[in-house]
Amino acid sequence: MDALGDGTRRLILERLRGGPRAVGELAAELPVTRPAVSQHLRVLKEAGLVTERRNGTRRLYRVDTDGLAEVRDYLESFWTDVLAAFEAAAEAEAEKEDE
Protein backbone atom coordinates (compact mmCIF):
# COMPACT_ATOMS: atom_id res chain seq x y z
CA MET A 1 0.00 0.00 0.00
CA ASP A 2 1.34 3.37 -0.92
CA ALA A 3 -1.16 5.93 0.29
CA LEU A 4 1.45 8.66 0.24
CA GLY A 5 3.35 7.79 -2.87
CA ASP A 6 1.14 10.20 -4.78
CA GLY A 7 2.17 13.86 -4.75
CA THR A 8 -1.39 15.13 -4.55
CA ARG A 9 -2.12 12.98 -1.53
CA ARG A 10 0.92 14.39 0.20
CA LEU A 11 -0.31 17.91 -0.57
CA ILE A 12 -3.74 17.06 0.79
CA LEU A 13 -2.22 15.69 3.95
CA GLU A 14 -0.09 18.80 4.36
CA ARG A 15 -3.17 20.99 4.04
CA LEU A 16 -5.01 18.92 6.59
CA ARG A 17 -2.15 19.30 9.03
CA GLY A 18 -3.16 22.97 9.12
CA GLY A 19 -6.62 22.01 10.34
CA PRO A 20 -9.77 20.18 9.26
CA ARG A 21 -11.11 20.94 5.78
CA ALA A 22 -13.98 20.01 3.51
CA VAL A 23 -13.49 18.48 0.07
CA GLY A 24 -14.49 21.72 -1.65
CA GLU A 25 -11.94 23.74 0.30
CA LEU A 26 -9.17 21.32 -0.60
CA ALA A 27 -10.18 21.36 -4.25
CA ALA A 28 -10.13 25.15 -4.27
CA GLU A 29 -6.62 25.21 -2.76
CA LEU A 30 -5.10 22.54 -4.95
CA PRO A 31 -4.75 22.12 -8.69
CA VAL A 32 -7.10 19.12 -8.78
CA THR A 33 -10.79 18.57 -9.31
CA ARG A 34 -13.20 17.92 -6.53
CA PRO A 35 -13.86 14.30 -7.55
CA ALA A 36 -10.11 13.72 -7.63
CA VAL A 37 -9.79 15.13 -4.11
CA SER A 38 -12.56 12.81 -2.95
CA GLN A 39 -10.79 9.88 -4.49
CA HIS A 40 -7.52 10.75 -2.77
CA LEU A 41 -9.26 11.29 0.54
CA ARG A 42 -10.76 7.85 0.27
CA VAL A 43 -7.30 6.31 -0.12
CA LEU A 44 -5.94 8.33 2.81
CA LYS A 45 -8.89 7.29 4.94
CA GLU A 46 -8.41 3.64 4.15
CA ALA A 47 -4.76 3.99 5.09
CA GLY A 48 -5.74 5.39 8.49
CA LEU A 49 -4.09 8.72 7.78
CA VAL A 50 -7.18 10.91 7.84
CA THR A 51 -10.53 10.68 9.53
CA GLU A 52 -13.83 12.10 8.45
CA ARG A 53 -16.47 13.81 10.55
CA ARG A 54 -19.82 15.31 9.78
CA ASN A 55 -20.27 18.91 10.78
CA GLY A 56 -23.87 19.88 9.98
CA THR A 57 -24.23 19.27 6.29
CA ARG A 58 -20.49 19.27 5.69
CA ARG A 59 -18.03 16.47 5.90
CA LEU A 60 -14.75 17.58 7.39
CA TYR A 61 -11.52 15.71 6.94
CA ARG A 62 -8.68 15.85 9.40
CA VAL A 63 -5.35 14.18 10.08
CA ASP A 64 -5.72 11.10 12.22
CA THR A 65 -3.89 12.47 15.25
CA ASP A 66 -4.21 9.20 17.15
CA GLY A 67 -1.96 7.72 14.53
CA LEU A 68 0.50 10.60 14.84
CA ALA A 69 0.49 10.41 18.61
CA GLU A 70 1.30 6.75 18.35
CA VAL A 71 4.26 7.41 16.10
CA ARG A 72 5.42 10.11 18.47
CA ASP A 73 5.16 7.82 21.49
CA TYR A 74 7.12 5.18 19.71
CA LEU A 75 9.93 7.52 18.73
CA GLU A 76 9.99 9.08 22.19
CA SER A 77 10.62 5.70 23.74
CA PHE A 78 13.07 4.77 21.00
CA TRP A 79 15.31 7.77 21.76
CA THR A 80 14.83 7.42 25.50
CA ASP A 81 16.19 3.87 25.25
CA VAL A 82 19.12 4.94 23.11
CA LEU A 83 20.10 7.81 25.41
CA ALA A 84 19.71 5.66 28.51
CA ALA A 85 22.14 3.17 26.98
CA PHE A 86 24.54 6.00 26.18
CA GLU A 87 24.27 7.42 29.69
CA ALA A 88 25.05 4.04 31.24
CA ALA A 89 28.08 3.61 29.01
CA ALA A 90 29.31 7.13 29.80
CA GLU A 91 28.99 6.50 33.51
CA ALA A 92 30.91 3.24 33.21
CA GLU A 93 33.59 5.06 31.24
CA ALA A 94 33.85 7.81 33.85
CA GLU A 95 34.22 5.26 36.63
CA LYS A 96 36.96 3.48 34.74
CA GLU A 97 38.87 6.72 34.51
CA ASP A 98 38.50 7.42 38.20
CA GLU A 99 40.18 4.17 39.08
Binding site: R17, L75, T80, F86, E87, A89
Partner: protein
Protein backbone atom coordinates in the same frame (compact mmCIF):
# COMPACT_ATOMS: atom_id res chain seq x y z
CA UNK B 1 -0.77 25.34 22.19
CA UNK B 2 -3.08 23.08 20.26
CA UNK B 3 -2.90 19.33 20.40
CA UNK B 4 -1.94 19.35 16.76
CA UNK B 5 1.13 21.51 17.34
CA UNK B 6 2.26 19.43 20.29
CA UNK B 7 1.96 16.25 18.34
CA UNK B 8 4.05 17.42 15.46
CA UNK B 9 6.78 19.16 17.46
CA UNK B 10 10.31 17.88 17.15
CA UNK B 11 11.18 15.13 19.61
CA UNK B 12 13.78 16.40 22.08
CA UNK B 13 15.72 14.41 24.64
CA UNK B 14 18.45 15.52 26.99
CA UNK B 15 20.87 13.65 29.23
CA UNK B 16 23.87 14.74 31.24
CA UNK B 17 26.87 12.46 31.33
CA UNK B 18 29.92 12.64 33.61
CA UNK B 19 32.49 12.95 30.82
CA UNK B 20 34.21 15.96 29.29
CA UNK B 21 32.65 17.02 26.03
CA UNK B 22 35.37 15.56 23.76
CA UNK B 23 35.04 12.16 25.43
CA UNK B 24 31.26 12.25 25.32
CA UNK B 25 31.33 13.04 21.61
CA UNK B 26 33.78 10.29 20.78
CA UNK B 27 31.97 7.72 22.90
CA UNK B 28 28.73 8.57 21.13
CA UNK B 29 30.24 8.37 17.65
CA UNK B 30 33.42 6.31 17.21
CA UNK B 31 32.55 4.36 20.36
CA UNK B 32 28.97 3.65 19.32
CA UNK B 33 29.60 -0.12 19.20
CA UNK B 34 30.18 -0.20 22.92
CA UNK B 35 26.75 1.07 23.89
CA UNK B 36 24.15 1.25 21.11
CA UNK B 37 21.32 -1.25 21.81
CA UNK B 38 21.70 -3.12 18.54
CA UNK B 39 19.43 -6.05 19.40
CA UNK B 40 16.41 -3.82 19.63
CA UNK B 41 17.51 -0.79 17.64
CA UNK B 42 18.98 -1.92 14.36
CA UNK B 43 17.98 -3.43 11.06
CA UNK B 44 19.84 -6.69 11.57
CA UNK B 45 18.71 -7.02 15.18
CA UNK B 46 20.88 -9.55 16.99
CA UNK B 47 22.86 -10.09 13.78
CA UNK B 48 24.16 -6.54 13.90
CA UNK B 49 27.82 -6.43 14.76
CA UNK B 50 28.63 -2.76 14.63
CA UNK B 51 27.78 0.72 13.46
CA UNK B 52 30.19 2.99 11.66
CA UNK B 53 30.31 6.78 11.45
CA UNK B 54 32.26 7.11 8.21
CA UNK B 55 32.93 10.83 8.30
CA UNK B 56 34.89 10.88 5.05
CA UNK B 57 32.11 9.20 3.12
CA UNK B 58 29.55 11.22 5.09
CA UNK B 59 27.73 8.06 5.93
CA UNK B 60 26.51 6.20 9.01
CA UNK B 61 25.74 2.55 8.56
CA UNK B 62 25.45 -0.71 10.42
CA UNK B 63 27.45 -3.78 9.58
CA UNK B 64 25.96 -7.17 10.29
CA UNK B 65 27.70 -10.36 11.29
CA UNK B 66 27.40 -11.71 7.74
CA UNK B 67 29.21 -8.65 6.40
CA UNK B 68 26.16 -6.95 4.93
CA UNK B 69 25.80 -3.22 5.43
CA UNK B 70 22.69 -1.13 5.92
CA UNK B 71 22.69 2.64 5.69
CA UNK B 72 21.24 4.52 8.61
CA UNK B 73 21.95 8.09 7.64
CA UNK B 74 23.90 10.65 5.68
CA UNK B 75 26.18 12.78 7.79
CA UNK B 76 25.16 16.34 6.96
CA UNK B 77 27.17 18.29 9.51
CA UNK B 78 30.13 17.07 11.53
CA UNK B 79 31.45 19.48 14.14
CA UNK B 80 33.26 17.56 16.87
CA UNK B 81 32.94 17.86 19.78
CA UNK B 82 29.89 20.13 19.63
CA UNK B 83 27.38 18.66 17.26
CA UNK B 84 26.47 16.46 14.36
CA UNK B 85 23.49 16.45 12.05
CA UNK B 86 22.21 13.43 10.19
CA UNK B 87 19.60 12.70 7.57
CA UNK B 88 18.08 9.38 8.46
CA UNK B 89 17.46 7.41 5.33
CA UNK B 90 17.24 3.86 6.49
CA UNK B 91 15.16 3.16 3.43
CA UNK B 92 16.52 5.22 0.51
CA UNK B 93 13.18 5.37 -1.24
CA UNK B 94 11.59 7.24 1.64
CA UNK B 95 11.88 10.86 2.67
CA UNK B 96 14.46 11.67 5.30
CA UNK B 97 14.07 12.94 8.81
CA UNK B 98 16.68 15.05 10.58
CA UNK B 99 18.51 14.02 13.68
CA UNK B 100 20.72 16.52 15.45
CA UNK B 101 22.80 15.72 18.50
CA UNK B 102 24.51 18.55 20.39
CA UNK B 103 27.15 18.26 23.10
CA UNK B 104 27.76 21.16 25.46
CA UNK B 105 30.13 21.40 28.43
CA UNK B 106 28.49 21.56 31.84
CA UNK B 107 31.34 21.97 34.29
CA UNK B 108 33.41 18.82 33.76
CA UNK B 109 30.35 16.99 32.45
CA UNK B 110 28.46 17.15 29.19
CA UNK B 111 24.89 17.89 28.32
CA UNK B 112 23.73 15.84 25.35
CA UNK B 113 20.69 17.10 23.50
CA UNK B 114 19.07 15.02 20.82
CA UNK B 115 16.49 16.41 18.46
CA UNK B 116 14.56 14.42 15.89
CA UNK B 117 12.87 16.70 13.38
CA UNK B 118 10.52 15.94 10.54
CA UNK B 119 9.39 12.71 12.19
CA UNK B 120 5.78 13.83 11.71
CA UNK B 121 6.24 12.94 8.06
CA UNK B 122 6.04 9.40 9.37
CA UNK B 123 2.91 7.71 8.19
CA UNK B 124 0.70 6.17 10.83
CA UNK B 125 -0.27 3.66 8.17
CA UNK B 126 2.71 1.63 9.29
CA UNK B 127 1.78 1.61 12.94
CA UNK B 128 0.68 -2.00 12.86
CA UNK B 129 4.17 -3.02 11.81
CA UNK B 130 6.04 -1.36 14.66
CA UNK B 131 7.33 -4.62 15.95
CA UNK B 132 9.25 -5.29 12.80
CA UNK B 133 12.09 -3.16 14.00
CA UNK B 134 14.01 -0.05 13.33
CA UNK B 135 13.77 -0.48 9.63
CA UNK B 136 10.09 0.24 10.02
CA UNK B 137 10.49 2.97 12.53
CA UNK B 138 12.96 5.18 10.80
CA UNK B 139 12.75 3.97 7.27
CA UNK B 140 9.49 2.55 6.12
CA UNK B 141 7.59 4.60 8.61
CA UNK B 142 8.99 7.78 7.20
CA UNK B 143 6.88 7.41 4.13
CA UNK B 144 4.63 10.39 4.35
CA UNK B 145 4.53 13.97 3.13
Amino acid sequence: MTTHATETDAIRKTVSVPLPVEKAFSLFTSGIDTWWPFESHSIGGDKTASAVFDVEAKRLYERDADGSEHDWADIVAWEPPSRFLLNWRVNPSRPETELEVRFSPEGGATRVELEHRGWEKCGPEDRSSYDEGWDVVLGKLVDAA
